[in-house]
């Protein structure tokens, strides 16, 4: 009998999808990985609703109300939740807006900035409300493990996942540690 595969969910909050692209850099190693794992809710599968999963990978920080909701759903459904990449861990590049007032940012980008045509601040009800700051994911839900890097390499993803697949604690080697 084949063993049930480990269920992984992934999402990108306020990130650039770079971490997801880096995950795919595993290339042919994905084939052997898929013998042991399956993706649930993820941009890889286009499944939108997170079901109970073993591992959740969160890329990106928390910049709007929708991010908060997705992150909480992931926490509620994933046994192990991993903050992946600089943005999830400390807000990263999107958090550079935190040094300025949000209204000032919106004004500059949509009203007064160079090259703006038809100036207006977007306010469609479909758009999730922005938070005052971009927060690290650990500021919203408890996080089990951190995988730094901008992005972490495919090797580092594997180094994090391999032990988890056999129920062990992952330990990122210092050799692999980088924040860029």
């Amino acid at each position: 009998m084949t063993k049930p595969r480990i269920k992984i969910a992934t999402t990108s909050l306020a990130g650039c999808f770079g971490c997801h692209m880096s995950f795919l850099d595993m290339d042919e190693r994905l084939v052997t990985l898929f013998e042991r794992v399956e993706f649930n809710c993820s941009p890889f599968t286009d499944i939108k609703q997170c079901e109970p999963c073993d591992i959740g990978l969160i890329e990106g920080g928390v910049c709007n109300a929708e991010n908060v909701q997705v992150l909480r759903t992931f926490r509620a459904n994933c046994t192990t939740l991993i903050a992946v990449g600089a943005c999830a861990i400390n807000g990263g590049v999107p958090a550079m807006r935190n040094y300025f007032d949000l209204q000032d940012c919106l004004r500059e980008v949509y009203l007064t900035g160079t090259g703006v045509t038809n100036p207006q601040i977007p306010n469609d009800i479909e758009l999730p409300l922005l938070l005052d700051k971009v927060y690290p994911v650990s500021g919203v839900v408890p996080i089990d493990y951190y995988l730094p890097g901008c992005p972490p390499s495919a090797d580092e993803f594997l180094q994090m996942l391999e032990p988890l697949l056999t129920g062990k604690k992952p330990l990122l080697q210092k050799l692999h540690l980088h924040y860029d």
Binding site: A83, A86, I89, N90, G91, G92, V93, A95, M96, N98, Y99, F100, K133, P136, S138, G139, I143, Y145, Y146, L147, P148, C150, L172, K174, L177, H178, Y179, D180
Partner: protein, 243 residues
């Protein structure tokens, strides 16, 4: 005059020192690494980053400003001390604006390298998100106070080696910040030059030389290939002008 050698013990290893040496001086001379950010051989130690905290018995002291004394039994490379050092590093990160992927110093930065050395995976404490002033007035030198860890190295380098006194630290606690000694408070109106030690000693990306960004690609920089322990043990005393 005959030099009198005495010894201290660091993590069980006997290390000689001469009168006047600090624990840090003696350790570095014996190639024993005590983590540090605000210490640079040859500049007067200032004891402000506290990364070099070691224990003598039950007392914690900063190795860079504590004189070595015969018979001291010192703990240095212990998991408790390295945990405390990691917390200090995390506090330095959250207090400033450290978005490494957007910083030219990345890969060459000692704060970052300290994080790697101590296995820092996250910053643990809530971020301060302070907005500190950038001074881009100088044609060749950039000062981004957001990344300044107030290590005081540029202050000492300017005063002791360049003999210029360009920098000082003003304010206290979270208000502490680097100020520039010129009529406008701007770097452009100071007498700093790109070749000065003060313009090059910054351990982080707070003082950067302009027009040479990204000459070495990310991934091939100093701390992509070496640990801060390796580079820290190789740093030679700076040459002071009056030496």
């Amino acid at each position: 005059m005959q030099t009198i050698h005495d010894t201290i013990i660091i993590d069980g290893q006997e290390i000689p020192f001469t009168k006047g040496q600090t624990i840090m001086d003696a350790a570095l001379a014996a190639r024993v690494y005590i983590p540090h950010l605000c210490h640079y051989p040859g500049l007067t130690p200032s004891g402000n980053c506290r990364l070099c905290t070691v224990d003598i018995g039950s007392k914690s002291v900063a190795a860079c400003i504590t004189p070595a004394a015969a018979g001291q039994e010192i703990s240095n490379n212990t998991s408790a001390l390295n945990d405390a050092r990691k917390s200090i590093t995390q506090m330095l990160f959250v207090e400033g604006d450290h978005i490494c992927p957007s910083c030219e110093k990345t890969g060459n930065c000692k704060l970052q390298a300290m994080g790697y050395y101590l296995g820092m995976l996250d910053e643990h404490f809530p971020q301060f998100y302070q907005h500190r002033e950038v001074d881009a007035s100088h044609a060749r030198i950039l000062l981004d106070r957001g990344r300044c860890i107030l290590c005081d190295l540029c202050v000492r380098a300017s005063r002791e080696v360049d003999k210029k006194n360009v920098f000082a630290i003003a304010g206290r606690g979270t208000e502490a910040h680097l100020i520039v000694n010129s009529s406008t408070g701007k770097l452009a109106d100071s007498n700093i030059e790109p070749g000065d030690l003060a313009a090059n000693i910054c351990p982080v990306g707070a003082i950067l030389i302009k027009e040479q960004g990204y000459q070495v690609p990310i991934g091939q920089r100093i701390y992509d290939q070496h640990t801060i322990q390796e580079t820290g043990l190789q740093e030679n005393s700076v040459k002071k002008n009056d030496d």
